[in-house]
Subunit: 226 residues, 2 copies
DNA sequence: CGCAAAATTGAGGGCCCTCAACCGTAGTGG
DNA sequence: CCACTACGGTTGAGGGCCCTCAATTTTGCG
């Protein structure tokens, strides 16, 4: 199968923000709080069905978690940015696969250690619980999008959400491919592409390059958000 | 059966339900852990935006929780059967509305009391956490359905899931209307109806009446489940 | 520079939606 | 007892949104 790419050399390029990984480790490193791992683009962090031994937090980069149907259709349930928790499971196995969208660094907390950690470190306990809460809120909002929104509305919602989660401003660079966006929004790459150009033609966004988006008319986009 | 993560998260004070301070009082209203309410068909239990003062458990009947777009499009995120928890919120307001699908009875736990209740009654604490966990799992599976499954596949998945959650056998009577099913699966009532008759013609189900379904070919249905 | 992957664009088709008519059941009142 | 109505559900015809297939352009990287 796929081997976890534990490339210690966090590659080189990609001005991914965050050099604060050392800070994370330092604070509570003594009792082996978590192991830091790096993954190259498309590297597999865990697969659907793997034994769920770890809970992860993104330190830098972006992670996607997805489910597959038997014929290959894919649904990306979420993109996880720096600071986000993923891989929380109630059962023994992961019900998703997790992969690096681009080069990324994560910290893995062994589940069997979490009990003690959460007893001693209420900060981490709260983070875990809040992470699960946020996942639920995001999932519930996303169901409305998947079930009831048009392609244009999906893209508008996605762009506004990504902008809010990253810079917060109007300039936005997307870390993921059109294919990833499509599988997140329940569309095809062609429809994603067409929707982008349509939004551009309508003056709602600008596309200096495929992965750079400027939200030039937030009001109109938010109107599409319904 | 229970993961370390969950059990440990319970024992330490969950920040989830304690926006108001956890209380010491637990004897004054010992029998009144929650208030029982009855609702007629389509009765509103709470509305989107209401102050989230209670967490609910279904005692009998079925409850739907749904979100609306400004133009009236609706997405039912879940049906809650007897024993299910609903209305768990991290923030101050409900992000859904909750209505009775048919006549139903629920028990309402005041959120400000939950801290004490969960201290004294670990059974309830575990129920709350597991309720949230189950909601998350269901939501994540439902995203795959909404984003990537065909109408026939959606109906097949829905029927198998409902059968498992109720009788567990092959006979099934649906407590909700076609409209509710449609808004749960991201379809229209006409497509729901057509899919039912198509499954019937293909011998996978029988429809003695609109709301009584017999799963006469589980294997085929599960194949559609992909 | 040259290749492969990603993204865009176009043409055509299919799945599901929209609009509409019809059917069956249940409730109501003359 | 039987209109009459209301409502939920089914069925049909047609259209639109998005998918599929395909070609082309652009981007990224050696």
């Amino acid at each position: 199968m796929q081997s976890a790419l534990l490339t210690k050399a966090n590659s080189s390029a990609l001005p991914l923000f965050t050099l604060e990984a050392p800070q994370f480790r330092k604070s509570t490193d003594a009792p082996a709080v978590g192991a830091v791992h790096s993954y190259a683009k498309d590297g597999e962090i865990f697969a659907e069905g793997d034994r769920a031994a770890f809970v992860y937090k993104v330190l830098s980069g972006v992670v996607r978690t997805s489910k597959l149907l038997s014929d290959g259709r894919r649904q990306i349930d979420a993109f996880h940015l720096a600071g986000d928790i993923f891989g929380i499971e109630a059962g023994e196995e992961y019900r998703f696969c997790a992969e690096a969208v681009g080069d990324c660094v994560v910290i893995a907390y062994r589940r069997s250690n979490l009990g003690a950690l959460m007893g001693s470190d209420s900060q981490l306990a709260q983070e875990m619980t809040m992470g699960m809460m946020r996942s639920l809120v995001r999932a519930q909002n996303h169901m409305l999008l998947l079930g009831r929104k048009s392609a244009l509305e999906k893209i508008a919602t996605f762009l506004l959400d990504m902008a809010e989660r990253t810079s917060g401003g109007d300039a936005l660079d997307l870390p993921m491919s059109r294919s990833d966006i499509a599988d997140h929004l329940g569309l095809t790459i062609e429809t994603v592409s067409r929707s982008f150009t349509q939004l551009e033609r309508q003056g709602m966004i600008e596309l200096p390059s495929a992965r750079h988006v400027v939200l030039s008319n937030r009001a109109a986009l938010e109107h599409l958000n319904a």
